[in-house]
Amino acid sequence: MRIRFLYATLCGLVLAGLVHIVTVLAIPLLSDTDALSRARGSESLDHPQRLYALSTADDPAPAEGWLPTPDPAVALGVCAYDLDDGPMRVSARTGAQMLSLAAHGRRGAFYAVTDQAAVRGALDLVILTRSQYDEALANEDDNEPSRDVRIVAPERQGFVTVRVIAALPSQRAAANEAVQAVSCTIDSPSEEPGKEPGKEPVK
């Protein structure tokens, strides 16, 4: 009897270990409060969804976001993407304030770039799948190399965060605007000439 009880306890402990591991691995997949699920609403927008706006003199109390520990000097916006709709293009114009873009998948951030990587004041980040990347490379004009920063995403769904730092309180309104000024658009094949061989190029 004692042996059986000992055996049952041992089985229970092993089972507890399995349940523990499965639960920890399942939390990011099942959670509906994680950043990716909450950012989904921004998918239809062509500019970032405002996650954390800085308080300014006109609007001293910013709306409480769901971000647990925001930096009170950094305005934050997100653009969610679904690469099934096409490659995601995030275009930012750099200004006086420091700006950073980070691409997140479900597993975490896979790429980040700051405004120091900008070419002539413009930062173009294109997130695509492996096949979309190959297609873009094949269609590239050798005489006109693209200035886009092309990143192959590990998953089809994810989001891009836009962070703009307001170094001084007087720059907060500008930081909020700078986040909104970033454009997040889907690169549809018809917009780029000669992207799809079957289709007529659009001039």
């Binding site: 059986r4 049952a8 000097a73 950094v74 980070a102």
Partner: protein, 229 residues
Amino acid sequence: MTSLAERQPGGPRAQAGAAGLGGRAAGAVRDFLRKTSRVGLVLYALGLGAGLGLVSADWATRGRYPFGGVTVGPWTAWPRAGAANADPYARAVNARRGEIPLAVGEGLLLSATTDDEGRALEAGCSYSIAGHTPPARAWTLTVTGRGAAEPGRPALRGGFTSTEILRERDGRFVIALAPGARPGNWLPAPGTSGPIRLALRLYDTPVAAGTGSLDRETLPAITRLGCGA
């Protein structure tokens, strides 16, 4: 065997010293085992597994990241918490909190909940946060309390950025974290009592790629100056 018997759910928790109670518990377990069938033991194993597994998973993914922390003095950083190769626990913590951690190329978050001597930071005490920061294009140092802000409390400064801080002649800075106003860089405590937390966010910093260059000299020291009014 006694220790296993004590783990029996529902059974009285016998203290080592209380022999009478322990004996009675062992007797109850022996009775239970004699009466119970194989089904009972299977149910017991399943219940133990599910209960212990869920509770331990909840405990491990609540609050701070359990693994991968780099501690330098009072400051702790989790450089891989936002990366694609973050450990499953960090990913679960992020998912539960809805946190968007800084990516490795973006910056690094260092947080402190104690002073240099290891005493917990209290909103009622005053501290000096002095020294240098690791190289970064910009940094912010913020203080947060636990829970929601007190209603009716005027929104005061929540932190300093590297641009707005007043520096000494040698480039050092001294921040006075105190409930009452101080000269110089005064950082108001976020409440009147309770634990507080300091967050030093370094943006666009080479430190994020390799935290080996962090040491106590490069991070601000947190010294408690006194408590109470």
